[in-house]
Each structure stands twice: as structure tokens, then as C-alpha cells.
Amino acid sequence: MRTSAHLRIGDQPWVKWSLITLALSLVTLLLLVPLFAIFAQAFSGGLESYIANVTDRFTLHAIGLTLFVAALTVPINLVFGVFLAWLVTRFEFPGRKLLITLIDIPFAVSPVVAGLLYLLLYGSNGWIGSRLMDHDIQLMFSWPGILMVTVFVTCPFVARELIPLMQQQGKEEEEAGVTLGASGWQLFRRITLPNIQWALIYGVVLTNARAVGEFGAVSVVSGNIRGETNTLPLHVELLYQDYNVVGAFASSSLLAGIALLTLFVKSFVEWRQARQRHALNEEEI
């Protein structure tokens, strides 16, 4: 990409290689070793004990609940993210900037505070929760509560991926579509969606990764009932506190696997987008 013909600082071999060595050592210490440690610990009791840990009744239940919550969270935030991105990138209206800032709140708020917010409102003493109790509906300390806080914590991801991309692509293609007579659904389906599909996939993967891994907010509203309201990260905590370190890491390895998959999808999507940008640049020449 970069032609070495340019005069740039830090290109003398000794500077370059000492900086690279330092950076790689840090990456190894800070990221690679911890990643490796998860799997090393998980398999420290051998493959059989790993399988036994992963297929434990409570672990399986935790996996099921976690996947169930993620499977509901992703479509909810996907729909919301697409509508919000369409709104703020395709229209000018007062309050648009505020809306973009508001959507960042879940990123800035401590997950424990997020959980508390929901507990206060929907808990049995809460303003809404107490009314629901009258109808025997309990949201907190059961899966709907876990779902609600997970939606809260992950709601910015899809929108945050789409907004910069859609802003950069502009609305001319959609306008061209309208002059050619396309309806709203035709516009989205045939013009917008093909242009944003990779960012959308990445947004979904991020949402999923965070939904599966959320700990703080979920631990406030779950009640940690083993085999009932225990998600996989909470299960990891329980096992760890029970001094079942190998079990905790076995469950962790599943979550780490999802994280690695997320990184892979991200790299792939970025590679696709770079190729698209490359094509666009050629277009301008």
C-alpha cells in the first residue's frame, strides 16, 4: 500500500524493528497469553473432563438461556438500529444530533447502573413492576428481565456501525431510485440493503457477542438461580466462586470461541469494505 519511496520518520531498521518487537511483546503479554490461558485452563483436566464440564446439566441450561436471550435481542436491536440509522442519515430534523448522542448512553453507563435502572422500574417495588405484580407478572429475576437489560446494553451496536457508513454513502442512490419510481420497500431492499449488508452483519455479530457475554447488568436482574436464570457468564462466576476453576474456564472457553468468531467476522467485513472503497477510489480516477 505504502511506497517506500517516501521519506518518513521511524523507518530506520533499528527503530522499526525495536518498535515492532516491543509492540509484539505487549500484544503477546496483554492479549495472546490470556487468550491461550483460557483454553489451557479449560483443558487442564483433560478432554474428558472438559466435555463433562461443558455438558453438565446446569452448563447446558445456561448455554440455552444465553442463546435464547441473544436470539431475541439481536432481531430487536437489528430492527431498531436500521430504522434509527435510516432516520438520522436520510433526513434532517431538529434534535437529530441529540438522538445520535442519546444512543451512546448504554456505552457510557456502567452495566451495574443499567441493571439497577431496570430493577427500579420493573422490580416488585417499582413504578411499573408493582402494577404488573398485581397481574402476577414478574419481569425481574426471570428471563424477560435479562432480555430487557441485554437489549439496553447492546442497542447502540447496529446503529453505530450503520450510521457512519450510510452518512458516507449519501442518499443520492436512494434519490435516484425514487425518481425511477421505486417504493419504500423496493428502495431499502434493492438499493440500501446491498450497500450496507456487511456493516449490518458486523453490527449483528457485535450485538450477539455482547448479548452473550453481558455480565454486570444481567447479574443485577437475574437473581442467579442455577438452572433457571443463570446465563453463561453468570454460570462462569458461580463455578469460579465454587472453586471449580476448570469448570469455569471450560464455560469461558465457549464464550472465548464466540469472541474469536466475532473477530474473524470483523476482519472479513473490513476486508470486504476496503475492497469496496478501493473500487470507489478507482472510480474517481
Binding site: E175, G177, V178, T179, L180, G181, A182, E283
Partner: protein, 384 residues
């Protein structure tokens, strides 16, 4: 289809993009909206298309009020400045799009669509590129795809936003000619936006000159050039040379410079504009004009030699420019610092209270006999 714009205005926040304005575009004409950036020409075009809504006024197509008709239903062909081709569709898919999104009842069958796309591709001479993607096309090719896509709907109105703005000079000329032919062949009404005066004058049946959200003048290219009716239009259509001064006893003067204005009442702050081809250069002043100048630069490129001059003994807001033929140049051989006199044949006089100019002509008879005197350089000037 004729287009009528009635009292249309538009404001973006604090910025008045269009003052209330009206315009009549007869059926079958090719009309250019000409103006500098920020003059409101693109806004007007987008309002006609329905891509922008006007704050006041109405748009009529063929006498029908379409002001509140959505752009989707206006059935205009619109060509975007940066083409706005669908980047993930091939050339053929781009052109077919408008046909494919039609409601089922109106939509031609697949075979018919294929044939129409094929015909359009032939028309824009891109038959062999049907399966390419926009990123693989040159600017001129993209522009033609954009046109074909807009024409697929057989619109009666074709609107083009800076259609040749992003293309290089050669391609631009070819496409211009091609668009003119296409227009003559298919008889739709076309409106295009440009900031290039040459393009507007060459291509249009009528030119609409705009500035600061207002229409300055609407005329055929010939009339527009011969009788520009405001300082702005005059200035926008090319370089102008200016003499600013006061009129006293039939003479407009400032410093050492003056021109005769027989019978003109005394007035302060009067400006007279001369275009480069309306002025001759002589070694002597004439009885009707005394405009001493000093050569500051000479540009030889082009059909004419362009001489840039500084006011000598008076002041001008900008340097003067006068075009002389290469023959005149070879005879005179002007150098930097050479002194000479400008003798105007035609001037556009603006009094301070009027926006419209008064056309002043100095007849040959009135001109100095010196012109006729066979002093070496001048004779060539006079005969040119």
C-alpha cells in the same frame, strides 16, 4: 411537456436559497440554468424534479399543478451530478431498475424489459458494457449510463444536474454534442444546470442566468450575449474591463482617463463596462476615448492573443484584458511595460441608480483620424 414555475421560493435555515421566482419553459426546449455556485440553480432543478419541496409557489407540468405530487409519481428523468449509479448493480441492471420496480399492472414482461434495456444501451453506445459494474466505467460512460437509466422510463421531462461537470474537456465536448442530438431526436423538454457559460450558451435554446437565488435574465444565447441586462450577467459571461468615474459635461472621467458620452446628464459614480472584443488598442488616443494603459502580460495560447493591461494614470479595480489577432500581435509585438490606448467601440453604461445598462456606441466616423493615419502599428489594428 411545458414546465411552469410560479413564485417558487426556498429557504434552508437562515439561508435564502431561492427568492420567489417564476419561469416558463416551453415544450421541447433545452434550457440551461447558469450561475455560480450558491446561486440556487441546483435547488430550482431539484424543486422542479420534486426532490426538494418549495416553501411557496407552484410547479406546473403541461398546465397541471404537480407541486404536491411526490417525485416518485412525477415521472421526470433526473441525472445526478455524480451519476448516483447503483454501485452493486451492473450497467444493464441499473437501466432496467425503473422498469422492474413498476407496479405489476404496468410493468412490461421480462422479455420486453430486456429488449428495452438492449435498445437503450445501443442508443448510448454502451452495448458491450452491459455486464460491467459502475466502478469499472469511465466518467463519460457512467454519465451515459445515468442518462439511459433516466430515459428508460420515457420521461417527458429530463433534468440534468451539472451533467458534464466532472468530465475532462474532450469528453465533455463530445457528450454535449451527443446530448443535443439526442434532445433533437426525442423531443423531450430538458433542463440542465451548469456553471460553465460556454456550455450554457452552446447547448441551450434558452439560458436562465441566476445569482443569489434570483433569476437575472432569461434569453436565447444570442440575445443574452449581445444584450446582457445587468452587471452580473455581463460579468458572468466573461472578463469585463471597467472605467469608474463621474460624468461631467458629456464626459465620463477618472484621473487621466475619459470617454465621451454626448448628451449624457452629469452624474456621480458611473461605471462603463467593455468586453475584451469591444475594445481596440492603439498607440494614440481617439477623440472619443482617452484610456492610457500599460501592457502587463501577454498570453499567446488560443485563437486570439490575450493582452493584460494596467491602468496608467488612473485606476481600475481589475486589470484590463483585450483580445487581438495573431496577425496584429505579430505586427505590434507588445512587450511588458509598453504603453498604448484603449479605444472602445461599444460600452455598457451603468448609472448608480439603475441596474440595467445603457448601450453606448461610438460610430467609426467619430473616431480619431489617427486611426486612419498610417503609423506603423495602428494601421493593422484598424483594418482588423
Amino acid at each position: 411537456m411545458s414546465i411552469r414555475v410560479e413564485n417558487v421560493s426556498k429557504r434552508f435555515g437562515k439561508f435564502q436559497a431561492l427568492e420567489p421566482l417564476s419561469l416558463e419553459i416551453p415544450d421541447g426546449q433545452l434550457v440551461g440554468l447558469l450561475g455560480p455556485s450558491g446561486s440556487g440553480k441546483t435547488t430550482l432543478l431539484r424543486i422542479i424534479a420534486g426532490l426538494e419541496s418549495a416553501d411557496t409557489g407552484r410547479i406546473l407540468f403541461h398546465g397541471d399543478d404537480v407541486t404536491r405530487v411526490h417525485v416518485r409519481d412525477r415521472r421526470v428523468g433526473f441525472v445526478f451530478q455524480h451519476y448516483a449509479l447503483f454501485r452493486h448493480m451492473t450497467v444493464a441492471e441499473n437501466i432496467a431498475f425503473g422498469l422492474e420496480v413498476m407496479p405489476k399492472v404496468q410493468r412490461p414482461n421480462a422479455k420486453e424489459i430486456k429488449k428495452r434495456v438492449h435498445d437503450l444501451l445501443e442508443m448510448v453506445q454502451l452495448g458491450q458494457l452491459a455486464n460491467r459494474y459502475p466502478a469499472q466505467l469511465s466518467g463519460g460512460q457512467k454519465q451515459r449510463v445515468a442518462l439511459a437509466r433516466a430515459l428508460a422510463m420515457q420521461p417527458q421531462v429530463l433534468l440534468l444536474d451539472e451533467p458534464f461537470g466532472a468530465l475532462d474537456a474532450k469528453v465533455r465536448k463530445d457528450l454535449r454534442r451527443w446530448l443535443r442530438n439526442l434532445h433533437d431526436e426525442l423531443h423531450f423538454t430538458s433542463v440542465f444546470v451548469t456553471h460553465d457559460q460556454e456550455e450554457a450558451l452552446e447547448l441551450s435554446d434558452q439560458v436562465v442566468v441566476m445569482s443569489a437565488g434570483k433569476i437575472e435574465q432569461v434569453d436565447t444565447p444570442q440575445t443574452l450575449y449581445a444584450q446582457p441586462d445587468s452587471r452580473f450577467v455581463l460579468g458572468f459571461l466573461g472578463h469585463i474591463n471597467v472605467l469608474q468615474g463621474d460624468v461631467n459635461q458629456g464626459r465620463l472621467s477618472q484621473g487621466d482617463a475619459w470617454i465621451t458620452l454626448n448628451g449624457h446628464p452629469n452624474a456621480k459614480a458611473v461605471e462603463c463596462y467593455f468586453r475584451p472584443h469591444e475594445v481596440k488598442l492603439q498607440t494614440q488616443p481617439s477623440p472619443t476615448a482617452h484610456l492610457p494603459l500599460k501592457v502587463s502580460a501577454v498570453s499567446l495560447i488560443g485563437a486570439e492573443v490575450r493582452v493584460e493591461l494596467e491602468a496608467d494614470g488612473w485606476s481600475s479595480p481589475e486589470p484590463w484584458e483585450v483580445g487581438i489577432s495573431h496577425a496584429e500581435y505579430n505586427a505590434w509585438q507588445p512587450m511588458r511595460g509598453d504603453r498604448c490606448y484603449a479605444v472602445p467601440e461599444v460600452g455598457h453604461l451603468f448609472s448608480s441608480d439603475k441596474t440595467e445598462p445603457e448601450l453606448i456606441q461610438w460610430s467609426q466616423a467619430q473616431q480619431s483620424p489617427v486611426v486612419g493615419a498610417r503609423s506603423s502599428v495602428v494601421s493593422l489594428f484598424a483594418s482588423a
